[in-house]
């Protein structure tokens, strides 16, 4: 399948033509004074299928392609992109990028230094068993409609939704240092949600499977969807959505919580993934989303979490949504230890930020499409498995709450104070799961929270969860990131803060 994707890319006659256009853009930029330049061709094809209440809510197929060039002139950066993929446009974007870099130099900072990189040449394709684009459309629609019907068979359900979405990114990267890399990356995912409404009280409850806010997704083929058994799980989540209407409200207090895999994944994303972005740490995102509490003086010198907390950024994780061959600066995919036995040990870096710490890029730069500047993005930022079985962990918990699947998230501009809500919770009393809880929320301060982690479930409970919609940058980019996670336990957490009366 790996070979087939590249064959298709080449059969379109594109690769050699694109490479010539990109090389031309590099040559023009260098003639005009660029000390470094890199250029990309990217084509992103997507298909999405949505159903709602037993009917098709929308099916769409889209292709967007273009070329871009990033140049360093007089120690300042410029970037220009165009959807016209043709030889004369190489000159246009190169000239525009150089002019923009010269404008940047009017308000220049310290000279840009790029960490060293050996010339990279090669090809990479997402390994997969079943290309989602080749699965017949009616088969995919039928799967969602069957899951939808299974949810609607439950009495009291108001709205049901389901979606499948997949994409294929074909790209070529070339640089003035001689790198030349070709990649075809495929991602695929799906989810279903059941909503129940009590019009009298205005109560709205939802349950999603396997995950909320989009879908569960990975850099893999249709096999990820086949393994989900959407139809089999549909009645259970629908029943839970209805039960939530009459479940009890969580009482405010301080207690022990166990987060399920999907909620642990978003907890990692927001409170570890973003604050370890070195561009953010260095102030490059300060005008938009803020900075980070993980300042450079804390590297190798800060207790981020308890001894049970081991976090890695790994762009080689099989099936992870942040898995690739090279990043969009041509740096090979790799694994970095971010938190080691609780100690903070690493950042997500680019070639122009790593030298600030005397380090080299660890390959974390991506752009969401051809018309966006590549920047530091999470790869697969994962909490490594611990030793517990989930049954044993619950049995070991005297008094607490089990929280499942994210419903809302919010975190401050330094990534310290967070508040999350989940779709559902269950009381844990004397080591047993008890009553269902609606509208559960918990809040905390990032390092206090991770230091209170005293158990992580083992590899049998560990899944690479996909976050298909991570926003960053201006203009905004929506990136696909992965987070391996297993259910985890945290002590002394403030829960139930709510304005719901």
């Amino acid at each position: 399948m790996r070979r087939r994707n590249h064959a298709r890319f080449r059969a379109q006659g594109k690769v050699s033509v694109m490479r010539d256009i990109l090389q031309r853009a590099l040559a023009i930029a260098e003639q005009l004074g660029a000390s470094y330049a890199d250029a990309r061709y990217m084509e992103r094809a997507t298909e999405s299928i949505a159903v709602k209440n037993g009917v098709v809510d929308g099916i769409t197929s889209g292709v967007s392609q273009g070329i871009n060039i990033r140049v360093l002139v007089n120690d300042a950066w410029g970037f220009a992109s165009s959807s016209i993929v043709a030889m004369p446009e190489a000159d246009v974007i190169a000239q525009r990028a150089v002019a923009i870099a010269k404008a940047s130099a009017l308000s220049a900072g310290k000279p840009a230094v790029l960490s060293p990189l050996e010339k990279q040449v090669g090809k990479f394709s997402t390994p997969m068993a079943k290309d989602p684009f080749l699965v017949p459309l009616n088969e995919k629609v039928d799967l969602l409609l069957r899951a939808d019907a299974a949810m609607r068979s439950v009495k009291g359900i108001a709205v049901t939704t389901g979606n499948i979405e997949y994409g294929r990114e074909s790209k070529i990267f070339v640089s003035s240092e001689g790198s030349d890399v070709e990649q075809v990356l495929v991602d695929c995912g799906a989810a279903i949600t059941a909503y129940a409404v009590d019009e009298q009280s205005g109560e709205l409850q939802q349950r999603s499977y396997p995950n909320s806010f989009g879908r569960q997704a990975g850099a893999t083929g249709y096999e990820i969807i086949e393994a989900m058994d959407l139809v089999g799980h549909a009645p259970k989540i629908a029943e839970e959505a209805v039960q939530l209407l009459t479940a009890k409200q969580l009482e405010p207090g301080v207690t022990t919580i166990i987060l399920d895999g999907p909620q642990t994944a978003i907890q990692i994303h927001e409170s570890c993934g973003h604050p370890i972005e070195l561009d953010r740490v260095l102030g490059m995102e300060a005008g938009f989303v803020g900075k980070s509490f993980l300042t450079t003086d804390k590297l190798n010198n800060f207790t981020y979490g308890s001894e049970f907390v081991n976090i890695v950024a790994d762009a080689t994780t099989p099936g992870g949504l942040g898995t690739f061959g090279w990043d969009d600066e041509g740096v090979p995919a790799q694994r970095t230890n971010i938190v080691t036995n609780g100690r903070f040990t690493g950042y997500l870096m680019s070639r122009d930020t790593a030298p600030d710490l005397g380090l080299s890029s660890n390959g974390c730069v991506r752009a969401d499409n051809w018309n966006r500047l590549p920047m530091i993005r999470m790869t697969n930022v994962s909490l490594l498995p611990g030793t517990w079985k989930l049954e044993d962990l619950i049995a070991d918990t005297e008094d607490g709450i089990y929280l499942s699947v994210n419903r809302s998230w919010s975190i401050d501009n330094l990534r310290l104070n967070f508040q999350f809500a989940t779709e559902v919770g269950w009381e844990i009393k004397n080591g047993k799961l008890g009553a269902m809880i609606k509208n559960p929320t918990y809040t905390g301060i990032t390092p206090e929270f991770w230091r209170s982690c005293d158990a992580v479930c083992n590899a049998d409970y560990w899944t690479v969860w996909g976050t298909p919609n991570c926003g960053k940058g201006e203009p905004m980019q929506t990136m696909r990131t992965g987070h391996g996670a297993a259910p985890s336990r945290f002590r002394n957490v403030r829960v139930g803060v709510s304005a719901l009366k």
Partner: protein
């Protein structure tokens, strides 16, 4: 790819001719985008984009397919039409589908500024430099962005709709940071970038940064609160995200469910969606080529109306208010020109009337906690102050809040006399707001 109206129309008509579907719609968007970003007192990211794309929607019986492309040669356009038709034919019928909209005369508002369209990287750099210079003079650090975009937008369909307008958008914002945690903020957006006073914007952010150094941690709890314009805009945006539209209403998922015709807020609260609002002029028609109606969503505190697109209007037999988003749209018809009516107070007067309270410049990372109960959470940022005896006395660290929007809008003490157009994700024109209570539940701290 510079294309004039004639060329865009010819392209759209060609797409319609290629189609064998019962109904066909083509949405064209040409983009000339540019954005200059600065941080740590220098320009660090500076980008430009040229794009032109079509989004084609076809109707076959009661089946709808959508396909998009940004390669506009005849072969690709034909293939994209065929792809949309194939998608439509492969699916079961949607019995609720009626029709694409027919043509309705569009009252065009001013959506284009040649000055914005012609803005250069040098001119953006000069504007940015004004803010950086004033920040540096105080030893502060500035970060932000200046965006100047021109888009050429058209909708055509086989029922005779033709809507075209060039649109410009400019937005400038900056966070200025002093030592010891103090920071300030400024933001302006307008069709015409020539309206921006960069010196005044720089002073707004620099002065607030200077005042907000060495913040304290106050006791948490409910406070009488003055929300400045940026914060009010983001609160209204959250109300919009919760769903002020016919779809959320029908599905029981929005903040106005069961409330239409009822008093939901203080009688000075009027929220309109108005494409001709002097601050909000941005689009004349929606993504189906239907003129955007002026619509009072809340009037005198009473919930009056929700937004419609053709699908929801046909389904319920109601009037289309012109609030379609691009197809397929799972969110529902959205008002993109929201304006909260102004009152008669200045922010200074509001503060003078508070014995003990909190002043909030803006919010950060807000999110919905419960949509039907209109509860949201978030942090404050870039200038939060304790008010004591009618004066801003001490800066406070960023605070977390969990607040019901209707609860706040029922405790209005006064509204600001001046509206400002700002955006977090969606642009909203809003005045400052003085409310009787706001629930602060947490604070930003490093941890123990």
């Amino acid at each position: 790819m510079q294309m004039n109206e004639q060329a865009i129309r010819a392209l759209c008509e060609k797409v319609l001719r290629y189609s064998t579907a019962d109904q066909t719609e083509v949405l064209f968007m040409g983009t000339h985008g540019a954005l200059t970003r600065f941080a740590v007192n220098h320009i660090h990211q500076n980008v430009a984009e040229e794009n032109a794309e079509v989004n084609i929607r076809v109707v076959v019986g009661k089946k709808v397919g959508v396909a998009s492309a940004n390669v506009l040669d005849d072969t690709t356009l034909q293939a994209t039409v065929e792809k949309a038709i194939a998608i439509a034919k492969l699916q079961p019928e949607n019995p609720e589908w009626v029709s694409l909209p027919g043509p309705i005369a569009i009252p065009y508002v001013k959506t284009f500024s040649p000055a914005t369209a012609a803005y250069t990287p040098e001119a953006r750099a000069k504007a940015v430099d004004v803010v950086i210079r004033l920040a540096k003079e105080r030893g502060f650090e500035a970060a932000g962005a200046f965006e100047t975009n021109a888009t050429y937008f058209a909708v055509a369909n086989s029922l005779g709709v033709w809507a075209y307008e060039p649109r410009t958008e400019s937005e400038f914002h900056a966070v200025v940071m002093a030592d010891n945690d103090g920071s300030g903020y400024t933001q302006r957006m307008n069709v015409d970038a020539g309206t921006f006073d960069f010196e005044a914007m720089a002073r707004e952010a620099v002065e607030k940064a200077a005042r907000s150094q060495n913040p304290i941690i106050p006791d948490l709890g409910e406070y009488e609160t003055v929300l400045d314009t940026y914060a009010v805009g983001e609160m209204i945006q959250n109300l919009n995200f919760m769903g002020l539209n016919a779809q959320s209403q029908r599905e029981g998922s929005g903040p106005l469910v069961g409330k239409l015709g009822q008093q939901v807020a203080d009688n000075r609260i009027t929220l309109v969606n108005d494409p001709a609002h002097p601050l909000a002029e941005r689009f004349s028609f929606d993504f189906e080529g239907v003129p955007i109606q002026k619509l009072a969503i809340i009037e005198g505190g009473v919930a009056k109306a929700v937004t419609y697109d053709s699908y929801n209007a046909n389904l319920e037999g109601k009037q289309n208010t012109g609030n379609a988003l691009p197809a397929p749209n799972r969110f529902g018809p959205a008002p993109l020109h929201l304006a909260l009516s102004a009152g008669d107070s200045s922010v200074e007067e509001m503060i003078r009337k508070v014995e003990r309270g909190i002043y909030v410049t803006r919010f950060h990372y807000t999110n919905i906690v419960h949509p039907t109960k209109a509860v949201f959470t978030g942090m404050t940022r870039d200038g939060t102050f304790l008010i004591e005896h009618g004066e801003l006395t001490k800066p406070v660290r960023p605070l977390r809040f969990v607040q019901g929007i209707w609860d706040a809008l029922n405790q209005v003490k006064s509204l600001g006399a001046t509206q400002l157009l700002s955006r977090d994700y969606m642009a909203v024109a809003a005045p400052a707001l003085h409310v009787g209570a706001w629930a602060f539940t947490g604070v930003q701290r490093q941890g123990e």
